[in-house]
Symmetry: C2
Subunit: 294 residues, 2 copies
């Protein structure tokens, strides 16, 4: 997906929030905002928004010397999400359709505010999960179920820390021995890295790799060759979160996106209402030739 | 009030909305957004936000050749607000405290969405007015009442079209023959100009002047000498809307501001909760020497 003009004010707002999170110094905030404004002539609207996010966060790390500003927030998010798993796992065990419930939960993980400010506790989070579960999922669940059953190799692209604990519940419902989980190659925002994946035990139930990139999405020419090979060889890709949708929505291949459409640009691009919980499967135009023939 | 870093993303968003309102051409939208981004090095954070708004809208008018993009919207806003006056005037006539109700109504006029898109009708607007009237006013109403009684000359700084019909109801409660109403000197956004003031009959109940400026606020070095003289000579200034507050909040003088705090930067600056309906009087530090002595 290209960058829309609407992304620019939103990106500036996010940049300011991130700068404030990383440094208490107003001079740093002003410097980074003026720098971002100064990129005006260079913004390539044909690239997806996460390309700009990657550039910004690299620069913010350079200016502040802080390598992983979201380190503590991610630890806390993992800890809190993990604390909910026993109860959710009991519900999955008695669910009429555990796969459907697990998909709901994986999207719920993308929805809930993991309490970066420490103002959210486990019971708040469980309430948010319950609310998220009440939302209908926009998308063809039965097609997704068939795609899972047919796939010999599944590549699961994770999104955020905390959320990745909920991803674990979905991965536990997928055929054992067929799933590889890919996380970001280096810290970027609160996106999950290998540390977060291990914290919630992903390595115990699936193969774990990283994509070699510090973009908040999946940008092939920034990913490792090994990751790109795995991507092109997988029978099925499950991609979590807006960042992966923004960067992969026009890729051919058997990709299913699971996310909440949190902004109107993405909702329009996906053809769903703002706020919808979405399962977007490959369109005829976007699927790989082999899939299109079948 | 200075420009805060938070104003910049907000300003870009407003700029994009304005560009879309003025021109259907995406190339124009992108051009103007890139230009605004290019101002990065020149943004003077010590000037109030309306200074940037003025510059932007001048440039937008230059690029598009449209002198008054909000012309039709303003006409419609005036028409709809006028349609509500008979009913509101009846309520004022039987009110226990007509001045207090008129102040509520003047702030209500600053609150309600006047239906720029034509999607709002009179009954929607009346509902919005009723909701706005239920909001408490944060501020010292009795001090304002005394200031009105003591003033021989009152300068009333109007804000938007449509809203100015509600201002008329408040002006009707002020001592006759003492009020001058000042509007913007040229079209800027949907701010009221002399055309709008006349459309709602302000000239029939008060002296009507314009400030000679096309800023969405009151920037002295951009206003006419005549306006500045009237400003400095008035015993009492009543200033409507955020734009006038942003540009005059640190001016000495006997100024009362009436507005809804629609953004958190302004709410913080005024020391009120976000969304509050505000009547901000002169602080001891800000009042003119003569007032401080009394």
């Amino acid at each position: 997906m290209k960058t829309y003009l609407d992304c620019i004010p939103c990106f500036l707002r996010q940049s300011l929030n991130a700068a404030r999170m990383v440094s208490p110094d107003p001079a740093v905030h002003e410097r980074i905002i003026r720098e971002v404004l100064g990129w005006a002539d260079e913004i390539d609207m044909n690239r997806p928004p996460p390309a700009m996010g990657q550039r910004f966060h690299r620069r913010l790390r350079e200016i502040t010397g802080v390598r992983d500003p979201y380190h503590r927030a991610k630890e806390e998010q993992n800890r809190m999400a993990l604390a909910l798993l026993p109860e959710l796992r009991r519900e999955l065990a008695s669910a009429h359709d555990p796969l459907l419930l697990a998909i709901h939960l994986a999207i719920a993980g993308n929805v809930i505010d993991m309490g970066v400010n420490g103002s959210v506790d486990e019971s708040d989070m469980m309430r948010a999960v319950r609310q998220a579960l009440d939302e209908p999922i926009v998308g063809d669940f039965e097609r997704f179920r068939r795609a899972i059953a047919a796939a010999k190799t599944i590549l699961y692209l994770a999104d955020n820390a905390g959320e990745i604990a909920f991803d674990r519940l979905l991965i536990e419902q997928l055929p054992q021995g067929r799933v590889t989980v890919a996380v970001r190659g280096a810290p970027i925002l609160n996106d999950a890295t290998e540390i977060d994946a291990r914290a919630v035990g992903i390595h115990e139930i699936a193969e774990l790799i990283n994509n070699g990139s510090d973009a908040p999405g999946t940008i092939f020419n920034d990913c490792s060759e090994e990751f790109n090979r795995r991507f092109s060889e997988a029978d099925l890709i499950i991609a979590k979160g807006q960042g992966n949708f923004e960067t992969l929505s026009e890729e051919p291949g058997n990709i299913f996106f699971l996310f909440k459409a949190k902004c109107s640009v993405i909702a329009d691009h996906a053809g769903v209402p703002l706020g919808a919980h979405v399962l977007v499967g490959p369109s005829a135009a976007n699927s790989a030739p082999s899939e299109r023939m079948s």
